[in-house]
């Protein structure tokens, strides 16, 4: 299947999700349960997307896990997104150089 078809389907779905309530609905969601689910969804989605994919992100499990640990530690200390991302990548890169040097 063409990538363009995927992108079109993806774009239309995302657009409708946003626009239908924006253009049509005027009420408020009252259900506490539904509100709670919607509250947790972004965190749960990001978590499910990150694990276990992050362990394979670099194509090498060892360097990926090193990058993951660095990201977790940096994030634990509330460092900005870009710092977490770059130190994680840098750590994995340096690890790949060291591993490459040994083997």
């Amino acid at each position: 299947m063409s990538v363009a078809v995927y992108i079109a389907v993806m774009a239309v779905t995302t657009y409708l999700i946003r626009v239908i309530p924006f253009a049509a609905v005027r009420g408020k969601i009252k259900s506490r349960f539904l509100n709670s689910v919607l509250y947790y969804i972004p965190f749960a989605v990001l978590s499910a997307m990150t694990f276990p994919a992050i362990f394979y992100a670099t194509g090498n499990v060892i360097t990926s896990v090193i990058g993951t640990v660095i990201a977790l530690v940096m994030a634990y200390f509330n460092l900005p997104l870009i710092v977490v991302a770059l130190t994680s990548s840098a750590g994995a890169f340096i690890a790949s150089l060291i591993i490459g040097g040994i083997s």
Partner: protein, 228 residues
């Protein structure tokens, strides 16, 4: 438009990571930018790329976007209550495209009713940051040596971690949902490999969120405390 600039900077770096990821998954630069321009959402796009890379079905794609982006419906719904009377249907159809987590956060913090001009200004700069970041990330992914792009493909996940760890640290309810989602996703990946990536994300996220909602329902009062 001024309000959009901090969002633009954040979007630029996230979308740079997204651009690198697309190249890693064998998508073209054009496809990467095309996805960013038409979707303007991080998590949904990454899941979408997973579905494309795995040659998943279109149903999977739709379900994936539906579940991951469903929160935008709630945000749109909430913003729709704040719109200025000058926001006619035409404007709503255009501005609705730009409802993202960050834009929603800024727009909903405004005390005056939202005018179309304000919303377009607020959306424009993040949109430019998001598209240009994707383009540069994809170009970088194309040009740089494989060892560098391999390391850079961690960027996006690193940012996801940076988004979820601080609130999870502060709030055990979020930590609970995050851990369940991660655990289910890992279990499905290793034990149920026939479930494709997109579906695994949906199943893990829905079960984790529903469990979280059942055990720790959220009220309006305790809701905003983890967002800074």
């Amino acid at each position: 438009m001024r309000h959009g600039i901090p969002i633009m900077l954040g979007y630029f770096s996230v979308s740079f990571g997204f651009g690198v990821l697309c190249i890693q998954k064998n998508l073209s630069i054009l496809a990467a930018v095309g996805i960013s321009v038409t979707n303007l959402t991080s998590a949904g796009q990454v899941a979408g790329v997973e579905v494309i890379a795995a040659s998943g079905s279109l149903i999977e794609m739709i379900l994936c976007q539906l579940v991951i982006n469903l929160r935008y419906s709630l945000m749109s719904l909430s913003l729709s209550q704040k719109l200025d009377p000058s926001f006619n249907l035409m404007h709503r159809l255009f501005a609705g495209y730009g409802v993202t987590d960050e834009i929603f956060a800024v727009a909903s913090a405004q005390t005056e009713p939202l005018t179309p001009a304000y919303m377009y200004g607020l959306i424009l700069t993040p949109f430019l940051g998001w598209s240009s970041g994707t383009l540069l990330g994809a170009l970088a992914g194309d040009i740089m040596p494989a060892s560098v792009t391999a390391a850079l493909s961690l960027m996006l996940y690193g940012m996801f971690i940076a988004i979820i760890v601080p609130p999870a640290k502060k709030n055990s309810r979020v930590l609970f949902a995050v851990l369940i989602a991660a655990a289910l996703s890992v279990v499905m990946h290793y034990c149920l490999p026939m479930i494709s990536g997109g579906f695994a994300i949906i199943i893990a996220a829905v079960i984790a969120s529903v469990t979280g909602a059942l055990f720790f329902p959220v009220t309006d009062e305790n809701k905003g405390e983890e967002k800074k």
